[in-house]
């Protein structure tokens, strides 16, 4: 007798991903696919791909998906959710997409309390366009457009999206997690499940912010990237639940 301990989720296609070695995007997509499989919701799930390194998410996830213009997934998802209020609708967005060009869209989706799950992959750079500063780039972090490190005088401070959205009455569940270790990846999966549960139970707006490595534009190897998340990134972006409809404080 063979017992299956680990296999490729059915909701992941056989298409090889285009992500760089050590990138976090592939892990997050896999977690989403696992949840869709386990919960048997493939036929009622609709995803939104961002403009960013994860734009081709629709090649990897075997579900109905829509592309949106850069930053607009929250508005496009709103339009989809109004047509299919009982479907599970999620967006998958990078930090440039969600926290810079799409700031208005995410704030107002939260403020309307859209019953949608927002998956926010924070890698502190613009991966797709070759590693420029993101709104979440940390002070001192060197990027293609902050060659001597981000300084507060010229570029302001990194934006903490979970904390920003927490002050809006329309947001229901906000949590920040990371991909820095198997344990943290398990926590990320839990957070994603909670996000989808929030939506399925019609509890409103949920956003999971995932600290994710971009070894290429952090100019590190995969191991150093994980250490960087734990030792540097989490100081600016503390992990944990920021808001939860189940435990109102």
């Amino acid at each position: 007798m063979q017992t299956i301990i680990y296999e490729k989720p059915k909701t992941l296609t056989d298409t090889p991903t285009h992500f760089c070695p050590g990138c976090g995007h592939g892990i997050v997509l896999r977690l989403i696919a696992e949840i869709i499989d386990t919960w048997g919701i493939r036929s009622k799930t609709i995803g939104l791909a961002p403009v960013g390194c994860a734009v081709l998410a629709y090649n990897y996830l075997d579900i109905d998906m829509c592309e949106a213009a850069h930053g607009r997934p929250p508005a496009v998802a709103t339009g989809i959710k109004r047509v299919h209020p009982d479907h599970v609708v999620f967006t998958y967005q990078g930090d440039g997409d969600l926290a810079a060009i799409g700031t208005a869209e995410i704030i107002h989706a939260a403020n309307r309390g859209e019953n949608i799950t927002f998956i926010f992959v924070n890698n502190a750079v613009y991966g797709m366009t070759s590693g420029q500063m993101a709104p979440t780039t940390m002070l001192g972090q060197k990027t293609a457009t902050t060659p001597s490190g981000r300084d507060v005088i010229n570029y302001g401070n990194p934006i903490r999206i979970c904390e920003l959205l927490a002050v809006l009455d329309g947001s229901s569940y906000l949590e920040r997690v990371s991909l820095s270790s198997p344990e943290n990846i398990r926590k990320t999966k839990k957070a994603l499940e909670k996000g989808f549960k929030t939506q399925i139970e019609k509890r409103g707006f949920s956003l999971i912010e995932i600290l994710s490595p971009c070894p290429i534009y952090w100019r590190m190897d995969a191991n150093e990237s994980m250490k960087y998340i734990d030792e540097d990134m989490t100081r600016t972006f503390p992990l944990g639940v920021v808001k939860d409809w189940e435990h109102k404080n």
């Binding site: 493939r42 009622k44 609709i46 081709l56 996830l61 508005a75 107002h108």
Partner: protein
């Protein structure tokens, strides 16, 4: 039963009757009657009304609802339509049906809130990035606004292409009797491409990104083929006195109403005036204008702009006859007398003879 409505309200009611259940807007004068009307009517029919945070968000919501298979619409006026161009390009590139109403006001910039036709280029030449076309319909009365809104939804579903209704402050805010009688076409193609959840079928993907070399060129060739088909089947115009005319006026929307008055008044003259009123601005009625240009002395294009549609008239005429232009901008509306003066100025001497004397008496 006839109702007395503004063009804006007629557009909204026609959309509802045509089965539009998803409307997203952002307030801007002179289209406010439309968004206000929708906020009342959509909930009554179980539809969705959202006052979005911007025109960008509104067109993106249309993107979503259209992708999910719902009849969707947004409306705005010039500055807001500029913001929608990103979304319109994505909708065209994703081959999604939707209706966009532009109640034009004066520009550039914040301009003013009075009637204008200065967004013609933006509407018919693409407006956003990439090789694409929206179908552009130009009503010149409240009744025609209602009629064209029904047709716009059917055309957009039929071709999986955005359709823009290009009105102006005059058409939007004018009150006229209107009747809603049109029926939705029932032989429209099924939306089996739409996002409904991959139940018992392969996944559907709505996208406009083709990074693999050669794929985008192939997709563009497909779009161009579709545009050709639209040009072959959908051109509409109204022609008045074109067979006996010495001079032909070309005008759309509010300008066309004024030109109709000119045609009527010109019965007092020695020379004959006819007119062509394009109803589809894209596809443009080039063939009829080309044929006319072979017979008339000259053509006069009248617009509430510094001269935009006149370029398409010239392209159709290809120098077969002189093409003149009369326009007012920035809220200026041409009067029939101004147009007549212009006609007298451009009509060959032998035709004009004793007309000049009468000009002062033109009623």
């Amino acid at each position: 039963m006839k109702q007395l409505l503004t063009g804006n309200e007629a557009a909204a009611e026609a959309a509802i009757l045509a089965g539009c259940r998803y409307y997203y807007g952002y307030p801007i004068t002179p289209q406010n009657e439309l968004i206000n009307y929708m906020s009342v009517r959509m909930p009554q029919v179980g539809g969705t009304f959202i006052q979005a945070e911007s025109e960008i968000a509104a067109i993106s919501m249309v993107h979503g609802s259209a992708a999910a298979g719902g009849r969707s619409m947004t409306s705005s006026s010039s500055p807001g339509i500029s913001l929608k161009q990103e979304g319109i390009s994505y909708l065209a590139g994703s081959e999604l049906p939707c209706v966009i109403i532009n109640i034009q006001r004066g520009g550039p910039g914040l301009g003013d809130i009075s009637a204008s036709q200065a967004d013609y280029f933006q509407a018919v030449k693409g407006g956003g990035h990439g090789d694409y076309h929206t179908i552009v319909l130009a009503p010149s009365s409240v009744q025609e606004m209602a009629d064209l809104v029904y047709d716009a939804f059917d055309m957009s579903d039929n071709y999986r292409n955005p359709v823009m209704i290009l009105g102006d402050a005059q058409i939007g805010q004018l009150m006229e009797p209107v009747e809603f009688y049109k029926k939705q076409k029932n032989n429209l193609p099924a939306k089996n491409w739409s996002l409904t959840g991959a139940q018992g079928r392969k996944r559907n993907i709505i996208k406009s990104f083709y990074p693999v070399k050669g794929e985008l060129e192939e997709f563009n060739a497909h779009l161009q083929k579709k545009y050709k088909m639209i040009e072959e089947h959908e051109i509409r115009y109204e022609a008045i006195n074109i067979h006996e005319a010495d001079i032909i006026l070309v005008a759309y929307g509010t300008s066309a109403r004024i030109c109709k008055e000119v045609v009527k008044k010109s019965q007092q003259f020695k020379f004959k005036v006819g007119m062509v009123r394009p109803i589809t601005l894209w596809p443009f009625p080039k063939e009829i204008i080309r044929r006319i240009s072979e017979k008339v002395q000259c053509i006069l294009t009248v617009e509430m702009s510094a001269g935009q549609m006149v370029e398409d008239v010239r392209l159709a005429v290809e120098s077969r006859c002189p093409v003149h232009f009369y326009g007012r901008t920035g809220g200026g509306v041409p009067t029939s007398l101004e147009v007549i003066r212009k006609i007298v100025e451009i009509v060959p001497d032998n035709k004009v003879a004793n007309t000049l004397l009468k000009l002062a008496e033109v009623k």
